[in-house]
């Protein structure tokens, strides 16, 4: 009787519990109070922010060498004796003039790549097909991608705390694809693979430059940070595929015209086979791409899942 009675009684009222967790007040992280993030802000020797890699797969080589090489311990240069492990790095922001210049630079670049994006859309709507859209954005693409060479200068004069070598490698790889492949081998300009990497670069660069702009102004919307550290998952392989297919398409024409090649005999006892060089470049993607892609995945996990540690990676 008692047994069944228990089931007939209403269950006891739950005791009101105070949540032990603090209420989440804001969903966006507070703006960083430290010095503004500059350009390709990245710490010490081997850490690389995903943004640095988004601009192209050939960048991978530099980033991979940074990721895999460890400059610590003694005798790393082989000769120079022990180099002390780097102590805690002090972040020195750029002066107000440099910050103003960098904001202008990043705004201009964002605008430039937006122009390219709009140009692509308009050309698509006008033509009705997505083939051969390269010709409609050829000039701004060349101008703004080549303009990125300035970023090497920024690192060299110190207003952006990134490695000159790394940045050079990354920018030169993009410039190489624009000038030494797409511009030089006219026959590939109507290939669809060109559109593939142009779209990947355009989206990446718009996000990247706006990320830097907002960071410099200490006002980074979370959506931009999210986009920068997430969209690469699709854009990166897309860009790589476009680049590789374009180089592959260029090969027969390079062979035919013996483009940029010198053969023996000559006064300087030198030879260069551009065809073989392009094949070597393509092969280099194989070790570099997975390394960098995985590194970016790890960075993403770190940056997007620890709001209190975001300052470190910004």
């Amino acid at each position: 009787m008692v047994f069944t009675a228990r089931f007939l009684l209403p269950p006891p009222a739950p005791t009101p519990r105070v949540s032990p967790w603090p209420r989440l007040i804001t969903l966006t992280p507070p703006p960083p109070s430290s010095y503004p993030l500059l350009g390709r802000a990245h710490s010490a020797s081997s850490c690389l922010l995903p943004g640095q890699v988004e601009i192209g797969i050939l960048d991978m080589a530099a980033a991979a060498t940074a990721v895999s090489s460890t400059t610590k311990g003694n005798g790393t240069s082989g000769r120079s004796g022990p180099s002390e492990a780097s102590g805690p790095r002090k972040k020195k922001g750029p002066g107000p003039l440099a910050t103003a210049y960098l904001v202008i630079y990043n705004v201009v670049m964002t605008a430039g790549w937006l122009v390219i994006a709009v140009g692509l859309v308009r050309a698509y709507l006008a033509k009705g097909s997505y083939h051969s859209l390269y010709f409609s954005i050829e000039k701004p693409l060349k101008f703004f991608q080549t303009g990125a060479l300035l970023e090497i200068l920024h690192c060299a004069i110190g207003i952006v705390p990134s490695s000159v070598v790394l940045t050079s490698f990354q920018v030169m790889s993009r410039v190489f694809l624009i000038w030494a492949v797409t511009h030089s081998v006219k026959e590939v300009q109507s290939e669809d693979s060109v559109l593939l990497f142009v779209i990947a670069w355009t989206v990446t660069e718009i996000i990247r430059y706006s990320f830097y702009t907002f960071s410099l102004l200490n006002h980074l919307p979370y959506i931009i940070k999210w986009a920068r550290y997430t969209l690469f998952i699709v854009l990166y392989p897309m860009g790589v595929s476009g680049e590789l297919l374009t180089i592959y398409a260029a090969l027969p024409f390079v062979r035919q015209a013996n483009l940029y090649s010198i053969s023996l005999p000559n006064k300087y006892n030198f030879s260069f086979d551009y065809y073989a060089f392009l094949i070597l470049i393509m092969i280099s993607y194989i070790p570099l791409f997975p390394q960098l892609y995985l590194h970016m995945i790890h960075q993403r996990r770190k940056v997007l899942s620890h709001p209190e540690e975001q300052k470190k990676y910004e």
């Binding site: 090489s69 460890t70 610590k72 311990g73 003694n74 005798g75 790393t76 240069s77 082989g78 000769r79 120079s80 004796g81 022990p82 002390e84 492990a85 102590g87 805690p88 023996l264 005999p265 000559n266 006064k267 300087y268 006892n269 030198f270 030879s271």
Partner: protein
């Protein structure tokens, strides 16, 4: 037993020590008195995880870091002394092997942080490997071993004198380097990270193959200005080789065998060492000079590129060396530049 006997026994038998200090032993005619020795304790933690790796007690106060490293190896044999970096602060500088425990700013229980430097390889091994490679590789191309050039050129010989001369110079250079590694150089460090051997060998062997391919190619074009150019280049090469060797000997004489002392190098009676008046690292200056000579002799662009890359690397090293000289010695001659007089 009466109280007198107890008292006598008590006075003869020493009371047990209350604190950890050893009791002083009463002096006997045949023995010297022992000094009170305070042993140190050393605690070794992982620099990254702060995990306790090893605890050493009864460490002599005058023990060196080298001895502590050897003790540490006993408990962790996979970390031989050469790959240990011990430091007082996890992010600080590595302690030197010669440092003495009691001279360090630690209490009687020292906490040292350990960092694994990775697999190490001796400098001598690396040098021998990276220099033996170019020596042999160049000769493979010189003798036109099969599968390099077309079949009809296998084991043929070039008809240009300069090609034979270049082979002699190149081989002489690397034999000199090998002999210097074995008999002349006194290294500051025993080991370097293992991955350096792959990096260095790729660089040396790769460039040697690339240069040798063109110089010994059947379609090689001799220098534009003929014999004159070759003679001048040979003179430059020979003088710079002699200079480089003189500097190596001078540097060797600065340091007694087995020591790691550092002194300011000064010019000696040997005229080649007079470059010390103007330059901190004349060995690098002469080395670049040798390769410039070789490039002029062969008139080969890959050689010029190798010279350029080597120059950039040696400039970086020279600047670093110059900086450490300036930091270490107050009276360092101000006229000296790192590698090129007055310029660089």
């Amino acid at each position: 037993m009466d109280m007198n006997m107890v008292a006598r026994e008590a006075s003869q038998v020493m009371a047990p020590s209350i604190n950890s200090l050893p009791r002083p032993v009463p002096p006997k005619a045949t023995k010297k008195p022992k000094k009170a020795v305070l042993f140190f304790e050393v605690e070794i933690l992982d620099a990254k995880t702060r995990e306790k790796l090893c605890f050493l007690d009864k460490v002599e106060p005058n023990a060196t870091i080298a001895e502590i490293k050897n003790l540490f190896t006993k408990s962790h044999p996979q970390w031989y002394a050469a790959r240990q970096s011990l430091r007082l602060d996890p992010k600080g500088k590595s302690l030197k092997d010669e440092d003495i425990l009691q001279n360090l700013p630690v209490g009687t229980t020292a906490t040292l942080y350990f960092r694994d430097l990775g697999a190490q390889i001796s400098w001598v091994t690396v040098f021998l490997t990276e220099y033996a490679g170019p020596l042999l590789i160049y000769l493979l191309f010189y003798f036109r071993v099969p599968f390099i050039y077309g079949h009809k050129y296998d084991f043929t010989s070039s008809r240009h004198t300069v090609v034979h001369l270049a082979c002699i110079c190149h081989s002489f250079h690397y034999i000199k380097r090998l002999l210097e590694t074995l008999f002349v150089h006194r290294f500051s460090h025993g080991t370097m990270p293992l991955r350096n051997i792959f990096k260095n060998c790729t660089y040396y062997w790769g460039f040697a193959a690339w240069m040798a391919y063109y110089i010994n190619h059947p379609l090689y074009t001799p220098p534009t200005y003929g014999g004159q150019q070759v003679k001048l280049a040979l003179a430059i090469f020979a003088l710079c080789q002699l200079g480089n060797f003189s500097i190596h000997i001078a540097l060797r004489n600065l340091r007694p065998a087995g020591s790691k002392t550092r002194k300011i190098p000064y010019p000696t009676k040997n005229p080649f060492t007079w470059l010390f008046l103007l330059v901190s690292c004349p060995n690098y200056t002469y080395e670049v000079g040798s390769w410039i000579g070789f490039a002029i002799m062969t008139q080969c662009l890959p050689v010029a590129l190798f010279t350029l890359v080597g120059f950039i690397q040696m400039t970086i090293w020279a600047k670093g060396k110059h900086r450490s000289y300036l930091k270490e010695f107050r009276d360092y001659p101000p006229l000296r530049s790192p590698i090129i007089p007055f310029i660089l």
